[in-house]
């Protein structure tokens, strides 16, 4: 079961058919509020939450992604375990990624999200991707868990899972770990929801 944990657009019939054609069986979208089946694709809600809203979403059924835009968002990180499914680091807003911050990310033991569309956008616009390299290096060394999602906003920006795997392989991740980040980790994250 292949899952895309970050679809930013509206999931309708044609989107679901297209996702099915690309091989996805589960799509997490921020535009739905309940689990539903559409054209053989299970659509689950995706909530991007701030640190203050973690308690509010504790009982919500769906993929809960903590958006980290400052190091304070990872304060008391042991409490986050079980409350959020993944972490999305907003490197544009984050000032200074240092050892202390990475220690919190590693210590939280929560999978970190890598968005295909965002990485590709940075590569094509000449922006640095050093932090992504850092994350992937930690992933290869077994310090953090990483999962890759498309970050697509419509049908035309959806990508085949092999393209996502290819991207992180090109960035230096071994093939088996790249496959794990695209296939296994997302599947485990949605297994309790879908």
């Amino acid at each position: 079961m292949v899952a895309d944990l970050c679809f930013r657009g509206v999931v309708d019939g044609s989107t679901a058919r297209h996702a099915y054609r690309l091989g996805y069986r589960v799509v997490a979208s921020g535009k739905v509020d309940s689990v539903r089946d559409l054209e053989n694709v299970r659509v689950v809600p995706r909530y991007e939450i701030s640190r203050d809203a973690v308690d509010r979403y504790r009982s919500a059924r769906g993929l809960k992604v903590l958006v980290v835009s400052s190091r304070e968002d990872l304060k008391f990180y042991p409490k986050l375990s079980g409350s959020v499914s993944g972490i999305r680091i907003d490197f544009t807003q984050l000032t200074g990624v240092d050892k202390d911050f990475m220690r919190r990310v590693i210590g939280s033991r929560i999978p970190v999200e890598v968005e295909f569309a965002e990485v590709l956008r940075r590569v094509l616009s000449g922006e640095p991707i050093d932090y992504y390299y850092l994350l992937l290096r930690l992933y290869v060394r077994g310090k953090v868990e990483v999962y890759v999602c498309s970050g697509a906003s419509d049908i035309s920006s959806m990508v085949h899972p092999t393209a996502m795997r290819a991207l992180i392989s090109v960035l230096g991740v071994p093939e088996d770990l790249a496959a794990k980040a695209v296939l296994k980790v997302p599947r485990e994250l949605v297994s309790g929801i879908a």
Binding site: L22, G142, I155, S156, S157, T162, A166, V170, P174
Partner: protein, 157 residues
Amino acid sequence: MLDVLPVVLAALVLSLISLYLSFTSWLRLRKTVAVVRAYLGARRSRLVKPRKRYLVFEVVALSGELSGIGRGQVEEAIERSCRLLFGFLGYGSMRPTLVYYDESGGVGILGFKHLWRNHVLLLLSLVREIGGAKVIVVPVATTGTRRKAMKIATKSQ
């Protein structure tokens, strides 16, 4: 018997603790060994003979007509995507070659060297427009021989 019981219990607890400690150290050591092996493996450079691979792909039209897309346009789109992502040097090294393209079915075969497989898969995902039509390129299969790729391509049509 009851005099010996506390000693036995203490011995049992100690042995369980030592078992736990030895197990966790073994796990840590295993990770370290894997990291060292990976590092040594990466440093040892091997000259690998490039082997030919053939990727069967399908062009799916999201808007516009698939029949309006010609072989030359597909070739141009792939070359443009390759140069955009990997530059002239990357394109020169990779040399992705459109071996076959069926204009009616939108199925094609791209030849490349096996060392660049992931790069080819990535550049295909960048192809979003061909000949004015919005498309998406779906990789179907990768094979080592052209004959098998043709078989898969004809089956996909």
